[in-house]
């Protein structure tokens, strides 16, 4: 579990990035908080810098959208989903619970981080 920031520091429509074994992008989508791996599954682009539209985030480079609820990409070029991570609020502080790094996907994410 990683503390992100206070709720009021992440207003609706905003995003931030925290380090929790991998880089994780955290979003406030109209009052709902979501967290996904920060690195787009396609190439070196940071989803926390993407445009937020409802509960979809646009990869800032390729304009592929990811559904923050499921991590699923909606179109080319992203081929694989990004991992999603549970978010909780405790005493007004946003926390991310990063999923264990067991899938091949997370290995890819780590490799990309190493490259970056």
């Amino acid at each position: 579990m990683v503390a992100v920031c206070r709720v009021e520091e992440l207003p609706p429509g905003e995003s931030t990035r925290v380090w929790a074994d991998v880089a994780v992008a955290v979003f406030n989508a109209d009052g709902e908080f979501y967290a996904v791996d920060d690195t787009c599954t396609h190439q070196d682009a940071s989803l926390s810098e993407g445009f937020l539209e409802g509960c979809f985030v646009e990869c800032p480079l390729h304009a592929a959208f990811f559904d923050l609820r499921t991590g699923m990409p909606t179109c080319l070029p992203a081929k694989r989903p990004v991992r999603t991570h549970p978010v909780t609020i405790e005493d007004g502080v946003i926390h991310v619970h990063v999923t264990a790094n067991t899938s091949q996907q997370s290995e890819n994410a780590q490799e990309q981080e190493a490259v970056a």
Binding site: Q43, G50, P60, P77
Partner: protein, 392 residues
């Protein structure tokens, strides 16, 4: 329509094949490609692939299951050489004839070469995976590289070569590269990146000739008389659309295949997408080609819809967008710099190489440019006046 051939299996062709299935086309689908490789992504070729950070497998546009899901017949390594006017069949180099009811033309473009340099080793263009692999193999930290052409491809190659430790000079015939695309102040900001990173530039001077010995390039002679020694020369002076195979098709060929605003050619059963398509722009009053990655993924949606409908029911959303990664900077641009548009930095600072610029024309935002400001760019891109999105 029971059978459709997509000619060209790169980003635009592959996207068209995906769109055909996504939009419910259940008939026979044939993909024809001149390269043997499965569809791959070209932008990293001049960047991470050239640097050795990613290998060819990482560039695949789809995994095997994605390709299988298309349930297509793949004819690769066998370029189309003719589209018959009489029966609409596509002939391949091998002699195979593909008879179909509909065609999507996605044959892309080929880099222009310097005349008279055929057969000289060490002179490269960069378009395909094989091109990039050949260039990468020849680059060492001791290489003396001359890049001819300072557009985005040339700049990215210069950046990558310099990162690998090579001694790099960029030559450009124009006084200021990209001035037409970006306007004077922003083109200057891009041009300064070379010098920031120890890459020499020779702008405003043409190439008079290539120097070679025993079939290997040794240098480049400029119109000024200066001679630049070189082991490797990379030529990035633009592309020409691959339309030679359509000479007998009866389609209108100008700078690319003429299409209406929805990607349909003179014939309702033939569409064209990507670099090869010269698309009518209603708001400009003329037709242009768009050589951008984003257009190759976006155009197939409307073009396929129109092809399946048998008539143009949707126009392209044609706000151009492209990006370039060079010298550690991410440059993003969207819109069109109309004559008379004024560039204004609205966030950050050009000196810091981190800024957002608006281009305004008669009170309207017509384009945006960002250096290392992806978040601000994503917002600004949506504020561009949309002249082209019109229901037919």
């Amino acid at each position: 329509m029971r059978s459709i051939a997509v000619i060209g299996a790169s980003l635009a062709g592959y996207s068209a094949a995906q769109q055909l299935r996504a939009q419910g086309f259940g008939g026979r689908l044939v993909l024809v490609g001149d390269e043997v490789h499965p569809p791959y992504d070209r932008p990293p070729l001049s960047k991470d692939f050239l640097l050795g950070k990613v290998d060819a497998d990482a560039l695949a546009l789809g995994e095997k299951s994605d390709l299988d899901d298309l349930e297509a017949q793949w004819l690769v390594g066998d370029p189309a050489v003719r589209l018959s006017r009489t029966d609409g069949a596509v002939e391949l180099l091998s002699g195979e004839r593909v008879g179909v009811d509909g065609v999507v033309i996605a044959t892309g473009a080929t880099p222009r070469r310097l005349p008279g340099t055929e057969g000289i080793a060490g002179i490269h263009t960069l378009r395909t995976l094989d091109d990039a692999a050949r260039l990468r193999e020849q680059l060492t930290s001791a290489s003396r590289v001359v890049v001819i052409g300072a557009g985005f491809i040339g700049a990215e190659v210069a950046s990558s070569c310099s990162y690998l430790g090579a001694d790099v000079t960029v030559v450009e015939a124009a006084e200021l590269p990209l001035v037409h695309a970006l306007g004077r102040s922003m083109a200057a900001a891009c041009a300064e990146l070379h010098g920031d990173h120890g890459v020499r530039t020779r702008f405003g001077v043409g190439v008079a000739g290539i120097l070679s010995a025993a079939g290997q390039v040794t240098g480049v002679r400029l119109a000024s008389g200066e001679e630049l020694p070189a082991d490797v020369v990379v030529v990035g002076i633009g592309v020409r659309p691959n339309t030679g195979w359509l000479a007998d098709s009866g389609l209108t060929i100008e700078d690319g295949v003429r299409c209406d605003a929805g990607g349909i050619t003179d014939l309702p059963n033939i569409a064209a997408v990507g670099d090869v398509a010269q698309v009518h722009r209603p708001h400009l009053g003329y037709a242009t080609r768009t050589e951008h990655w984003a257009a190759a993924t976006a155009q197939p949606r409307a073009a396929v819809r129109n092809l399946l409908a048998g008539t143009t029911v949707e126009h392209h959303d044609d706000t151009p967008y492209f990006w370039s990664d060079q010298y550690g900077s991410r440059i993003q641009f969207a819109g069109s710099v109309t004559p008379g548009a004024q560039a204004r930095v609205v966030e950050g600072d050009v000196e810091d190489r981190s800024f957002l610029t608006h281009y305004e024309h008669e009170g309207r935002l017509v384009a945006v440019l960002a250096f290392n400001q992806p978040k601000a760019f994503g917002r600004a891109r949506r504020q561009i006046a949309k002249p082209g999105l019109v229901a037919a």
